[in-house]
């Protein structure tokens, strides 16, 4: 049902006609995010240029009960920015200024449409950087990172978005503008900043973000090591951790993932190894060198068959290129694939991988594994062919993998969020009382349920539907971003 003409006029009154898109050819661009199996063309797309204009739009929505969905770059992988039928999309990409880099206080003030990488670009002339590094960082926005509490390869040591955001200016679903958090970590009362972080666009729209910046480490050391089994690689991770070493990143790939990545990049990974580990350490020169020797010894102890140490920044970049290309590269060995994002306690890594292999065998579907080994965040890639009618099997296997992670004491999602994709699995992880309490928090922010409704929580409508298959994000196809 199209929106009432008078409501459209009110949006035009706030933004001007040029910033209100209603032509279906143009609004179609916004029909999905990175989870391309779900699509809804929005009624209107609003493109405000200031926080006040965002608030003005939301006030119109609140007045007429029009649902709205905030959108950054649309790289989300859980259908968080999926439009709502009869609703509007509020695109934040025109609020894209770095407002301030405060070198002395090591922080930056940003509008929500600034991309993750632009923060580090603005900070690096001062020897500073922004730590959370999702592999979509060239494109994804800080507003989207806040909404998803995004991570990256280096969050093992440095934490997630929530650990790096000091304060947020937020337009609440009634159109009022508030600041959550403050100039230091010391806050007055409950940490509403922290509640908003990771709330997947369901509690309001953030219009200004103050993040902490870190000093660029003095030294970085990176190695690539091959092992006779994934279990041996897992043992190395455990031993590194028990030695009291906190690496900047520890990533693992299995044979299938290596085959795909090496085929795509020629980054120098061994094609005949069952498992490869990327370990990166950073810190002061003397500490880093000392720990690096320990890591090498641990690798040897567990039967490392080949150890390649990055001897230059180029070699380091090459190792990472292979790792980061793994996702998109599986397109070379499979026509279709689904990306999973479950988490298990690190000590159960080899157990969960064995089970996944068993489940894959049973269903006759291949699964490649790429994962953040240091924090137990798996990205199993479920490989299938829609043309051969394997879509449903693959979808079932993928959901079973996520739910297996929960059964093993882990989580449905480590970084991609629940959104539309996993809402129906939420009851596997949370009880009725938990979900009911989440609802109450949501209702305190959004009593009329107009802010990104239908996401995160299981709904009968959604959970009765079958999602479509995964398709690569358009930007990914063009090589602008890589999946990690």
């Amino acid at each position: 049902m199209p929106l009432d003409r008078r409501i459209v006029d009110e949006f035009v009154g706030v933004l001007g006609a040029a910033d209100v898109l209603s032509d279906p050819i143009r609004t179609r661009t916004y029909e999905c995010d990175g989870l391309t199996g779900y699509r809804v063309v929005p009624e209107l797309v609003l493109l405000p240029r200031t926080a006040e204009a965002v608030a003005g739009c939301v006030k119109v929505c609140a007045r007429h009960g029009v649902p709205f969905v905030a959108r950054g770059a649309g790289t989300g992988l859980s259908g968080g920015a999926l439009p709502v039928a009869d609703g509007v999309v509020i695109g934040l990409n025109r609020l894209n200024r770095v407002l301030e880099v405060d070198v002395e206080n090591r922080r930056a003030v940003l509008e929500p449409g600034v991309t993750n990488l632009e923060i580090t670009a603005a900070a690096s002339p001062f020897g500073l950087y922004y730590a959370p590094d999702p592999s979509s960082q060239q494109v994804c926005t800080i507003g989207g990172n806040v909404a998803e509490n995004s991570g990256g390869a280096h969050c093992l040591k440095y934490g997630f978005t929530t650990n790096h955001v000091l304060s947020l200016e937020v337009v609440l679903p009634d159109g009022s503008l508030v600041t959550l958090g403050g100039d230091s970590a010391e806050q007055q009362g409950p940490d509403l900043r922290g509640v908003f972080l990771g709330s997947e666009g369901t509690l309001g729209i953030t219009t200004k973000i103050t993040v902490r910046l870190l000093r660029t480490p003095e030294t970085m050391r990176t190695l690539l090591a091959d092992f006779p089994s994934v279990a041996a690689g897992g043992q190395v991770v455990s031993d590194i951790v028990s030695a009291g070493i906190v690496p900047a990143a520890v990533e693992m790939m299995d044979a299938l993932a290596i085959e795909a990545a090496e085929g795509a990049t020629g980054a120098g990974y061994s094609l005949d190894t069952p498992a490869a580990l990327v370990v990166e350490l950073d810190g002061t020169a003397e500490e880093c060198d000392d720990q690096f020797e320990q890591v090498k010894a641990i690798c040897d102890k567990h039967g490392c068959t080949r150890l390649h140490i990055a001897g230059s920044p180029e070699e380091r970049a090459n190792i990472w290129r292979g790792r980061k290309a793994a996702f998109a590269a599986v397109g070379r060995i499979s026509p279709d694939y689904i990306v999973q994002d479950g988490v298990v306690p690190r000590t159960r890594l080899s157990e969960v991988l064995d089970k996944i292999a068993e489940m894959a065998d049973e269903s006759g579907i291949r699964v490649a594994n790429v994962f953040h080994a240091g924090d137990g965040n798996l990205h199993p890639l479920v490989l299938y062919s829609e043309a051969n009618g394997e879509a449903e099997q693959a979808e079932t296997l993928s959901s079973r993998i996520a739910e297996l992670c929960v059964e093993m004491g882990g989580s449905l999602s480590g970084e991609h969020g629940i959104g539309t994709d996993k809402a129906c699995s939420m009851p596997r992880m949370f009880g009725e009382e938990d979900l009911e309490a989440f609802h109450r928090v949501r209702a305190a922010f959004d009593p009329d349920d107009i802010c990104n409704p239908g996401k995160l929580f299981p709904t009968p409508r959604l959970c009765g539907e079958r999602p479509g298959k995964y398709r690569p994000h358009p930007l990914e196809e063009h090589g602008a971003i890589e999946r990690l």
Partner: protein, 386 residues
């Protein structure tokens, strides 16, 4: 109206907490070990005190995963001893840990210590919680894995809630390795000089874990480093060189003095001993303040403070001021765009606990309304805001 003296409830399991909340009519004050009993607004009109001190013990510690789940009434000090045998720790050095503060109490009061510079405050270490709400609803959020974005992060809501939104019954924490070596370098000097040192230090690659000025005559800056056994001395040497004349390595016990000063200065109760109970500053009030790091030193300098510990890298300081100066301290902090909260105060002091209300106050009230519509839990903590 006079009320009967509040009864004390001391449940020993999460289920008993739920039963206590459901079966006890009226208003409940939620309490841990009492080390922060007089922080924030004063409780009023209480019918019963619900103490978590019977709700203790480790539920699961998996050293390989570096996570631990505990009952919320467990003193962090005891937990530290237990997991310390595995060379692991909770990277939280809030001043009252040594006096027996409970894990739940530390979360509810949003406490932190000097090492927040690197490890953050307690909110950055909590990965899961179970909470009993005013109507007996038992809510789990987060889980046992460090990386997890499923569902709202209720732990953040409870962080700094001072017992007003629910009773924490279980807390899951991420652990860090006990460093192989630590060292502290001190340099004497007034606050302003310490701020200048800090400005250079945070731009260096030396990765200080804590960087605190403690008041005295003339006061001194303490900088702590953590690292490897065979390498830390190299970094200590670089640090001494950076800080220049007079910088020297000191014994780690300086941090006990720091904790005592943070708890309200030397004097009765504020001795950093392990007697439990609040450390009341005689004739004064302790306030916790936060501001942008570069604003902190000028702000603190303008306060009539008698004792100060100031995290010049974090922007968080704890100051003791005369009781009569509490209101003006809140004002001065607000003028510097900072935040302030009243901590310990002498028993008869009537002073505002909070400065001007944050812009999110209507939201805070809405949340309170949804979770505790009858205002049963810890009334008074956020007076005069709500």
């Amino acid at each position: 109206m006079t009320r009967a003296a509040p009864t004390t409830l001391r449940p020993t399991t999460p289920r008993e907490v739920r039963d206590a909340v459901l079966d006890t009519p009226g208003r409940l004050a939620v309490a841990g070990a009492g080390t922060a009993a007089d922080w924030a607004g004063r409780l009023h009109d209480i019918d019963a005190r619900l103490e978590t001190t019977g709700l203790t013990g480790v539920i699961a510690h998996n050293p390989g995963d570096m996570t631990v789940s505990v009952h919320a009434g467990t003193p962090l000090r005891d937990l530290a001893t237990e997991i310390g045998t595995h060379q692991q720790r909770v990277a939280l050095d809030a001043a009252r840990v040594g006096r027996g503060a409970t894990v739940g109490g530390l979360v509810a009061t949003a406490d932190a210590g000097p090492s927040a510079l690197v490890y953050g405050s307690v909110r950055d270490l909590v990965i899961g919680t179970t909470t009993v709400l005013a109507d007996g609803t038992m809510v789990r959020s987060g889980g046992h894995v460090i990386k997890n974005v499923a569902g709202y992060d209720m732990a953040k809501l409870l962080h700094g809630s001072y017992g007003t939104l629910g009773v924490l019954v279980e807390v899951v924490l991420r652990l860090h390795p006990v460093p192989k070596a630590t060292a502290t370098v001190a340099v004497e000097g007034p606050l302003q000089a310490a701020a200048e040192h800090t400005a250079r230090l945070v731009q260096s690659p030396l990765e200080p874990i804590a960087c605190e000025w403690v008041s005295g005559d003339p006061g001194r800056l303490l900088v702590r480093l953590e690292g490897g056994e065979s390498t830390l001395h190299l970094r200590v040497a670089r640090l001494v060189e950076l800080l220049g004349d007079g910088a020297h390595e000191v014994d780690e016990s300086v941090w006990d003095e720091h904790a005592a000063l943070t708890a309200g200065g030397p004097g009765p109760g504020g001795d950093g001993g392990d007697t439990g109970g609040p450390a009341v500053a005689p004739d004064g009030a302790v306030l916790r303040i936060g501001a942008a790091p570069t604003r902190l030193a000028p702000l603190v300098a303008e306060l009539p403070a008698t004792a100060v510990t100031a995290g010049l890298g974090t922007g968080v300081a704890t100051v003791t001021v005369p009781g009569a100066a509490v209101a003006e301290t809140h004002d001065a902090v607000a003028a510097a765009h900072g935040t302030s909260a009243l901590r310990s105060r002498s028993a008869d002091l009537d002073a505002p606990a909070w400065g001007p209300a944050p812009s999110g106050l209507p939201l805070l009230k809405a949340i309170k309304n949804r979770l505790d519509p009858d205002g049963r839990l810890s009334p008074g903590r956020f007076d005069p805001w709500m």
